[in-house]
């Protein structure tokens, strides 16, 4: 069983085409693994019937010789994606009972490519969080542990279920979404690879919105090649999303030559944070050396507005969230609060939203409401949008100076314990996104590649940031880094 579920997408694709394995066998192996992994809290709506049906259809397609790369490949889908006839709750109580009658563009494209949906994956409520602890389904748990210590660790967030499921070999790959680091941070915490594409590369249609100018879907998989294969199917222009780019989608897998000779890699000095753990600093230095050894030219660069990225994000994201989440009012879908005699429509809204949204979502909706309210709009929201322009310009300047990609740590630490941040104020949790959030603000592609382990054996990731629309080049640099780092460790099964 483990051999099947542990396959990469690329190796499974080749085995399926050669007839060495069927999609039905692969799918069954994943369903069994999922049933045995309830302790991870990764899969929150299991869809075995759909999976078996799609596997059978994929096997027929494979037999007929009409098989795209993902045909027959079992995937997990983050709960943020609407998939026809399957509950989509964004891990929130307020969407309890909501069953979308439509399919998001990204999952439709995956479905048309023959991919098999195994189920919906856990996440932070409305993708707001960095530890998967704000989910109405309960925590997702990291398959990795600190040596023999049985303390449960976070798989990161918000795509925590996706990360845990891929790392624990419950599926071959998973979809994630990334608004401030929600693909890359969990990927780093679980020793997998996660790519946030350029803003506009994947359609947002049918994905429950958090912050529309920052949200972007992307692949989470076992290696760089698998991310490229998944992105090939996920990307593309969609008239249903007016911000989706009308650009041709190149073959991202074909870009993986591993040759980065002559490429220029920037190391931004502002990412060297006070109090950064030595292990992270050492990993970053090693990554630099690996890319140099692979023939890249590594230069120090400056992204002077980095320091202001998090505060900018914590104005813009809540502002957009407060607007996007206004639709959850107990009228059209999801849960409505029990009303008392004489309650009017305003009481219905207020009670529904008070009991439907968790604490972090309420906090962000209210912060967003505040920064958009009369008298504060210019001081906070407009100012943040101006600083965002400056943050993007920092990157544009670096790229104009000839930098092809930027290397940074993916996270400021390894995975932390579930509950460990409970007493900290919300801002402490926000610091998790310090290296990733700039990328969303600038709309750039970014990828997290597992590159080492800390003293407790926990995985650590490095992030590469690329030029807009050049995911192929970015994936190739990541591929070179992956080959040099040679990260092959797997969590020991305890669940």
């Amino acid at each position: 069983m483990t051999e099947l579920t542990g396959m990469t997408i690329a190796s499974a694709r080749d085995a399926l085409r050669k007839g060495e394995v069927t999609s039905a066998e692969l799918t069954e192996a994943c369903l069994t693994a999922i049933d045995g992994a309830d302790a991870l809290g990764a899969v929150v709506h299991k869809t075995p019937e759909i999976a078996r049906e799609r596997a059978a259809a994929a096997d027929a397609r494979l037999k007929a010789g009409d098989a795209p790369d993902l045909c027959g490949i079992p995937l997990g889908i983050k709960d943020l994606f609407c998939t026809e006839g399957v509950p989509a709750q964004a891990a929130s109580r307020i969407l309890e009972g909501f069953t979308p009658p439509y399919e998001s563009t990204v999952t439709r494209q995956l479905r048309e490519a023959g991919a098999v949906m195994l189920g919906k994956l856990n996440m932070d409520e409305f993708a707001m969080g960095s530890s998967n602890e704000t989910s109405v389904y309960g925590d997702a748990v990291n398959p990795w542990r600190r040596g023999n210590d049985a303390a449960k660790l976070t798989p990161g967030g918000s795509s925590g279920g996706s990360a845990a499921a891929v790392a624990a070999d419950l599926c071959l790959g998973a979809t994630g979404t990334d608004t401030g680091g929600s693909i890359r941070q969990p990927a780093a915490f679980t020793g997998i690879t996660g790519l946030k594409p350029t803003y506009g590369r994947c359609s947002r249609w049918g994905i429950i919105a958090f912050a529309s100018s920052l949200d972007q879907a992307g692949p989470m998989a076992k290696d760089v090649r698998d991310c490229a294969i998944m992105l090939n199917a996920m990307a593309g222009h969609d008239p249903m999303d007016s911000t989706s780019a009308e650009l041709a989608v190149p073959d991202f897998e074909a870009a993986l030559t591993g040759d980065i000779k002559g490429k220029t890699i920037g190391i931004p000095r502002e990412y060297r944070m006070d109090g950064m753990p030595e292990e992270i600093e050492a990993l970053w230095a090693e990554g630099r050396k690996m890319l140099e050894d692979a023939g890249a030219k590594v230069v120090d660069i400056s992204l002077p507005h980095t320091k202001y990225a998090l505060p900018t994000y914590y104005v813009i994201a809540p502002a957009e969230a407060s607007s996007n989440l206004a639709r959850y009012d107990g009228v059209r879908y999801g849960r409505r609060a029990q009303l008392a005699q004489g309650d009017g429509v305003v009481e219905m809204y207020e009670k529904t939203r008070a009991e439907g949204f968790g604490a972090e979502v309420q906090r962000r909706v209210m912060v967003g409401t505040y920064v958009l309210s009369a008298g504060f709009y210019d001081a906070y929201y407009n100012r943040a949008r101006k600083v965002r322009t400056l943050i993007k310009k920092d990157f544009e300047d670096a790229f104009a100076d000839g930098v092809d990609a930027i290397l940074t740590p993916a996270t400021p630490s390894a995975a932390f314990g579930l509950g460990e941040m409970q007493s900290a104020d919300p801002v402490q949790m926000y610091l998790n996104d310090v290296f990733t959030v700039t990328v969303n603000l600038a709309g750039l592609p970014g990828i997290s590649v597992p590159a080492g382990q800390d003293r407790n054996g926990l995985p650590l990731g490095l992030q590469l940031i690329g030029r807009p629309w050049e995911e192929g080049d970015l994936l190739n640099t990541a591929y070179a880094l992956e080959r040099a780092a040679g990260f092959v460790s797997k969590p020991e099964k305890w669940w």
Binding site: Y314, R332, V345, M366, S373, R383, L441
Partner: protein, 95 residues
């Protein structure tokens, strides 16, 4: 930055989220911490900088003004907590 409980109550009201009176001081304190963090933006020189409208330079596409979808009231109402006779139902709003 300190936020008083009256401001916290006003924001909760605007956001249409019921917050009990005894929860207001803690909420005000949390707002204070977050807004204090955001306050750093005041030190950035943004003179003459355009606020970002779109992260990728693009013109919002337009399409022909014609009906492309519809005629599925039942499907749309299927997720409503309360729907009657082809309408969403809510508590009485007009006496």
């Amino acid at each position: 930055m300190s936020i008083d409980t009256a401001t916290a109550a006003r924001v909760a009201k605007l956001a249409r989220i019921r917050v009990d009176d005894d929860a207001l001081p803690a909420l005000a304190e949390e707002f204070g911490a977050i807004l204090g963090f955001i306050e750093q933006l005041q030190e950035v020189d943004v003179e003459g900088v355009e606020p970002m409208v779109s992260v990728t330079p693009m013109r919002l596409p337009r399409r022909a003004d014609e009906v492309t979808s519809g005629g599925m009231a039942d499907t749309i109402l299927s997720n409503a907590p309360d729907a009657r006779e082809g309408f969403f139902a809510v508590p009485k709003v007009v006496e």
